[in-house]
């Protein structure tokens, strides 16, 4: 069975940044080689999880880092500042650390960048930190020559303490797959702003810190919650593929039950892009034991950021590592995005 074929190119191209099989191969073949092994009971680079976990006595120190490059820097529903905070806070929450201790923030600024713009981005960083119940304790600033980067790049790192680590593996046949809300909002909202497409829509990014919602779900579901993954780059498809691959299970998804906004469906139809490979920045995918599924779903729906949550599928023994989509008309293997999302005509 050929699955994510190992990618051996001499040069790193755009497809290595989409969150799919190519990126995972790159990490395995280069980045994790001889690094990241923290020994028994710890989680390092090789696990390719949303973050790392270091045992401290009977608790864990969780660390995660993320770089943010988004064009445009300000978009409907948020900006690069909100994205930088939410991205790292959510990755910590995906490991079970829902009370971030602190964040760092390193900025690389293009020569000539507007001071007013920087102030407003830091205003939204402050607001997002407050919403997530954390703050920025250290950072770094670099300025590069004009034209050497696209305005601004932000890297954030987060640390948190947790008693229990939730990985993105460990699923078994029968476990239920749950998404905390509508899929594809961020990726297609960004795509719709590209002026030359001249689309007029109220579609906004879903970018938001979801640690409080995840905390509520963990309190309700406890050990019944087996796996957590935020479906950012590569969308729901890449998140599900990683969960299926790491747990060695197949996943069958009931497509009609996946919550989608009308505008996301419309922009997807117009541009020929599947919302299931479009990024989300304020959502999570839960893998839950059958008996805990209902309780976890209610807990998530009780939170404003989780009101559209739904159970969308389950794990099966057949075709480990594959994700099958039951479309209501038939079924197909869900594929991962190849390279950046591009509008299609055919």
């Amino acid at each position: 069975m050929t699955r994510n074929a190992r990618f051996i190119d001499e040069r790193i191209t755009l497809k290595y940044g989409t969150g799919g099989g190519a990126m995972r191969a790159l990490i395995e073949q280069i980045f994790a080689k001889g690094l990241g092994d923290l020994g028994e009971g710890n989680i390092g680079l090789a696990a390719m999880d949303d973050g790392a976990a270091i045992r401290l006595g009977d608790r864990y120190l969780v660390i995660t880092t993320d770089s943010h490059v988004v064009q445009p820097i300000v978009f409907p529903g948020g900006d690069i500042g909100k994205l930088a905070v939410a991205g790292t806070v959510n990755d910590l929450a995906m490991m079970g650390a829902t009370d971030p201790l602190a964040l760092t923030c390193a900025a690389i600024v293009e020569d000539g960048f507007s001071r007013e713009m920087l102030k407003s981005i830091w205003e939204s960083i402050r607001a997002s930190c407050e919403e997530a119940g954390t703050t920025i304790v250290t950072g770094d600033t670099k300025v590069m020559g004009h034209g050497e980067l696209d305005g601004l790049v932000l890297n954030t790192t987060g640390v948190g303490i947790t008693d229990r680590i939730v990985t993105d593996a460990g699923l078994e046949p029968g476990d239920q797959i749950l998404v905390t809300g509508t899929m594809g909002d961020h990726g297609l909202a960004i795509m719709a702003t590209r002026n030359e497409l001249a689309l007029e829509t109220e579609l906004v990014s879903d970018v938001a810190p979801i640690n409080a919602m995840v905390r509520r779900a963990l309190e309700a579901g406890g050990d019944g919650i087996i796996a957590l993954k935020d479906p950012t780059r590569g969308g729901l498809s890449s998140a599900l593929h990683e969960m299926a691959e790491k747990s060695g299970v197949g996943i069958v998804i009931d497509e009609p039950s996946i919550p989608l906004r009308d505008e996301v469906r419309a922009v997807g139809e117009l541009l020929g892009i599947d919302p299931l490979v479009s990024a989300n920045e304020g959502k999570a995918v839960f893998g839950v034991r059958p008996e805990s599924a209902a309780g976890v779903l209610d807990a998530i729906r009780s939170h404003p950021l989780g009101r559209n949550a739904a159970i969308v599928g389950e794990c099966v023994a057949e075709r480990p590592g594959f994700v099958v989509l039951d479309t209501g008309f038939g079924s197909r293997l869900l594929s991962e995005a190849e390279g950046e999302l591009l509008p299609r005509i055919c």
Binding site: L199, E200, L203, D262, E269, I345
Partner: protein, 78 residues
């Protein structure tokens, strides 16, 4: 070979020969030079690469569905 998406005409700009079309809540300007008939607000068009290539008479949509039901009835009889 051609991604065609139906939408509802909301407004027509005669001198620019374009129409504003609503696709399930997303509005987009579409060019009319290639359309097979004049369009007015309320009409449906088929959009391909930003051009309206067909005015879709609403009753045609109903007729196609009736065609499918007819097919089913015939298939059941055989």
């Amino acid at each position: 070979m051609c991604l065609g998406v139906p939408g509802k005409v909301v407004d027509v700009d005669r001198d620019r020969n374009t129409a504003t079309v609503d696709f399930w809540g997303v509005k987009k300007e579409v060019r009319l030079e290639v359309c097979d008939a004049p369009v007015a607000p309320g009409d449906y068009i088929l959009n391909h690469v930003g051009f309206a290539i067909r005015r879709i008479p609403p009753e045609e949509a109903v007729e196609t569905l009736a065609l499918y039901d007819e097919l089913l009835r015939l298939a059941d009889d055989q």
